[in-house]
């Protein structure tokens, strides 16, 4: 028993099954991320007082990650092209490169996440706010390396001249004078909530893609010797999915890092 059109295209639609399935899946993914982006727009437009953080993320790292993901998108296309022209060795090289690029992306992303987890905003009883990375924390004091201001509003736009003029130094704060300690976790404000949720979901998509591509690079690639056409189709499908992951990032990057 054999399901038709797994390899060859059905004449009237011109498509093979997996391609139809994948585009349908991508349509639903569009709606998934669409739901998140429309939440972003709604929450940002309706933000109390029109205040929205800016420049809270590392733009050079974000740009680097964008470039990595775009490159990986190109290399998986080359991997597929290599199969098309019957060069299995070349395919291995390019798919391997794609995997490495994807893993590097995740590495940089987790570095960014860790940076946010060690970043604190401390409100003092005096009303002063200290914002910076944690150096040391003991029972009776904590040490932050960062900046100080009269109100958290000063930290909203970190690309403004005013913010950049603030002195970076080390602050030693006694626990007694501290009113509130807050890390840059999702709960801190709506912007960070969106940042963590959207990039987290995107990272999950990357992990899924890496697992599938890893399988096709490793044990799954044996199929090339028994059913080359079917295998080529699979790589094409994996590529389509991967381009979509890239596409989502192309929007996430400006929306979260730049604007």
């Amino acid at each position: 028993m054999e399901i038709p059109y797994t390899v060859k295209a059905r004449p009237d639609t011109g498509l093979y099954n997996a391609k139809v399935g994948l585009w349908l899946f991508l349509a639903s993914e569009v709606m998934l991320f669409g739901g998140l982006f429309s939440s972003y727009v709604l929450l940002r437009v309706g933000a109390p007082g029109g205040l929205w953080p800016r420049g809270w993320l590392n733009i050079p790292l974000g740009t680097l990650n964008t470039i990595l993901l775009i490159s990986s998108s190109i290399t998986i296309t080359f991997a597929w092209a290599a199969l098309k022209s019957n060069q299995f060795g070349r395919f291995k090289v390019f798919l391997g490169t794609t995997l490495l690029l994807a893993i590097t992306f995740l590495g940089i992303k987790s570095f960014e996440y860790r940076d946010k987890l060690s970043h604190y905003q401390v409100t003092l009883n005096s009303g002063q706010v200290v914002d910076g990375h944690l150096v040391e924390r003991t029972a009776d004091h904590l040490v932050l390396h960062g900046v100080e201001a009269d109100s958290p509003k000063a930290f909203l736009d970190r690309r403004s001249r005013e913010f950049r003029q603030l002195q970076h130094e080390e602050f030693k704060l006694a626990t007694a004078e501290v009113k509130k300690v807050e890390a840059y976790k999702p709960r801190m404000n709506t912007y960070l909530a969106l940042y963590w949720t959207m990039t987290g979901l995107h990272a999950l998509h990357l992990v899924g893609g890496i697992l599938v591509m890893g399988y096709f690079w490793g044990p799954g690639s044996r199929m090339w010797h028994t059913a080359p056409e079917h295998f080529t189709n699979r790589i094409e499908i994996a590529g389509l999915y991967w381009h979509f992951v890239d596409l989502v990032w192309v929007f996430l990057f400006p929306v979260l890092y730049l604007l």
Binding site: S28, G46, T197
Partner: protein
């Protein structure tokens, strides 16, 4: 050679004359669409019964607030403890049961039955395919559904019990309730949504790619069209709810404020949330799914009814193409009506006008479909067997459900009726004597194909008349209660409100109606299981003399479905063709030589 599309290389060795697969492979981890369909069907029927049981205990509490629930009260106390102290339903337990009744009925019972069971079993058969396009994905989608169901079911037994914020889970209420039930609900929903997505991708891809030679789009049975549109609704409407579910989960677990406004006070104290969120955002994303979801509930039912009516009137469906275009229009418009659930949220007149207009527009294709089905009866020599009885009762019942929806579609009348029992009555007329009747009809109709045996006609009729009468006893009084202003979701059935005493009295009528409705299901349950084992065997592969392809298979169909290659020559409803030798012409019958 390529075996199943998702299969790994070892599948290639799985050559044609294979050994009989083991029990697990054949019944539990099967990739055969028929087995998956049956798995969906049985699981969903169990959830249907369970959801019904939740409702029964709630109806007791509404009719007799604060009195111990008879029969099951001690059981509730033994299993759930404090919340059912002395066998009484506490308000918390009532809220849990209410929320879970809705969730279970919609997401775990009816959709899986209509799309998961009927869709999976029948779509490949009706289009002449050997299986779904992605059999392994199909199995996975059932497993996700099953896991989601387990999570939902398990949430009853955790400390604090299941979710209490209604099946709609509106924040900030859903966040403010300090128990973990809501977290379980959200996790369960993520699994159920994933399952629906995989299932709908599969059904759509199957219909597009695996139609048998000659099976053009306009030769598809209407049931297949209905599944096609319903799957598209699932595919595109569910993901925004998945996004919303993830956000609410973040609110619940990571302490974010996607749906929590600034300065939110719970129990008189301002919460710790950072604020800046929007409770209305949840409502938008929820209803963006949940309105199309209503059409996911209805369309497959309409598809089943269409098949049964054509078969039992022995006539072609009246206006097949009209039906198809109406179903497509219905699916399209259903995406832009959602905010008619939100007139009371402080919506301006401009946007309310837009949604009122689209809501009135969507009633047009619904009426067209119903009219086509009604006219199909005209002049037929109707066989009133059990499936046909259910199908013919479906039409007026669904009609009542649909027409009572019109006042809810206008913001002026909706503001009065919103959140009253009128809404409950309207929705249940659509789904209970509507969709569930269609599902019953479908079970009686396709039972001979699935099991090779026939269900008992007499007990079928008992089941039908009992269900029809008591469905109306249960739901008709709700219109009266709602119009007189009785609110829903009150654990004392509105006793704290000064309503006319006879409006309260109706609660007892409904309770006993519901009990009798439960009794009326007993013949069905016994009939169902008895007939699987002992029912009279069918003597033909096509006992109803039907035209569609699922009846051209061996009974029950084996792995691979058809024992001969299928070529389709004609449309799906060639009944009583003038000049033909018999009153039905199967789709794959060779045309007579001119």
């Amino acid at each position: 050679m390529q075996t199943a599309i998702q299969s790994m290389p070892h599948g290639a060795a799985h050559a044609e004359p294979h050994a009989e697969p083991g029990f697990l492979r054949q019944y539990v981890f099967s990739t055969d669409h028929k087995v998956v369909g049956i798995q969906y069907g049985l699981t969903a029927l169990i959830f249907l019964l369970f959801g019904f049981f939740l409702m029964l205990t709630m109806r007791w509490q509404i009719a007799h607030p604060g009195q111990p629930v008879p029969v099951v009260g001690p059981l509730l106390e033994a299993v759930l403890g404090q919340v059912a102290k002395g066998g009484m339903m506490s308000p918390d337990l009532y809220n849990s049961f209410g929320a879970m009744h809705g969730t279970i009925m919609v997401f775990l019972a009816i959709v899986p039955l209509a799309v998961g069971a009927f869709g999976n079993y029948l779509v490949p058969l009706q289009i002449g395919a050997i299986d779904m396009a992605f059999p392994r994905l199909n199995m996975t989608s059932y497993q996700f559904y099953f896991l989601g169901g387990i999570i939902m079911f398990a949430s009853f037994f955790i400390p604090g019990g299941a979710a209490q914020a209604g099946w709609t889970s509106y924040p900030p209420l859903a966040n403010a309730i300090p128990t973990d039930g809501q977290t379980f609900w959200l996790l369960g929903m993520v699994f159920l949504i994933t399952s629906s997505l995989l299932g709908s991708v599969n059904i759509i891809a199957t219909i597009i790619q695996l139609r048998a030679p000659g099976m053009t789009w306009m030769r598809l049975p209407f049931f297949v069209w209905a599944q096609f549109v319903a799957s598209f609704l699932l595919l595109l409407a569910f993901p925004p709810l998945e996004a919303a579910g993830v956000m609410q989960l973040m609110d619940k677990v990571a302490g974010t404020s996607f749906f929590l406004p600034t300065g939110l006070a719970v129990g008189g104290a301002v919460g710790q949330a950072s604020g800046g969120g929007s409770p209305l955002l949840w409502q938008h994303l929820f209803w963006f799914l949940a309105h199309p979801e209503v059409y996911v509930l209805i369309l497959p039912a309409l598809g089943i009814i269409a098949e049964i009516i054509a078969n039992n009137t022995r006539k072609p469906l009246w206006g097949y193409k009209t039906l198809v275009y109406a179903a497509l229009a219905l699916g399209f418009i259903s995406f832009i009506v959602w905010a008619h659930h939100m007139y009371l949220t402080g919506m301006g007149t401009t946007i309310a006008t837009f949604f009122q207009t689209t809501t009135m527009l969507i009633s047009v294709p619904s009426v067209i479909i119903l009219t086509c089905l009604l006219i199909s009866l005209w002049g037929g020599s109707i066989r009133f067997n059990t499936p046909m009885l259910f199908a013919s009762a479906f039409l007026p019942m669904f009609g009542i459900g649909g027409l009572t929806g019109l006042p809810l579609g206008f913001s002026y009348s909706d503001i009065h009726l919103h959140d009253t029992y009128y809404v409950i009555g309207h929705f249940h007329y659509v789904v209970a004597p509507g969709t569930i009747f269609a599902l019953f009809a479908g079970i009686y109709f396709w039972f001979p194909k699935v099991t090779g045996r026939v269900m008992n006609e007499f007990w079928g009729r008992v089941h039908f008349w009992g269900s029809l009468i008591f469905m109306n006893v249960v739901f008709m009084p709700m219109f009266v209660q709602g119009l007189s202003g009785m609110l829903r979701r009150m654990s004392d059935g509105g006793a704290t409100y000064a309503l006319r005493p006879d409006v309260h009295e109706l609660n007892r009528v409904i309770l006993w109606g519901a009990v009798c409705l439960a009794l009326a299901q007993i013949p069905f349950i016994i009939n169902f299981f008895y007939s699987i084992a002992r029912g009279p065997r069918v003597t033909s592969d096509n006992p109803w003399n039907a035209t569609t392809l699922e009846w051209q298979t061996p009974t029950p169909p084996g792995h691979g479905n058809f024992d001969k290659p299928i070529q389709v020559y004609r449309g799906p409803y060639e009944y009583s063709v003038p000049g033909a030798s018999k009153d039905f012409t199967p789709q794959n019958e060779l045309p007579a030589k001119a």
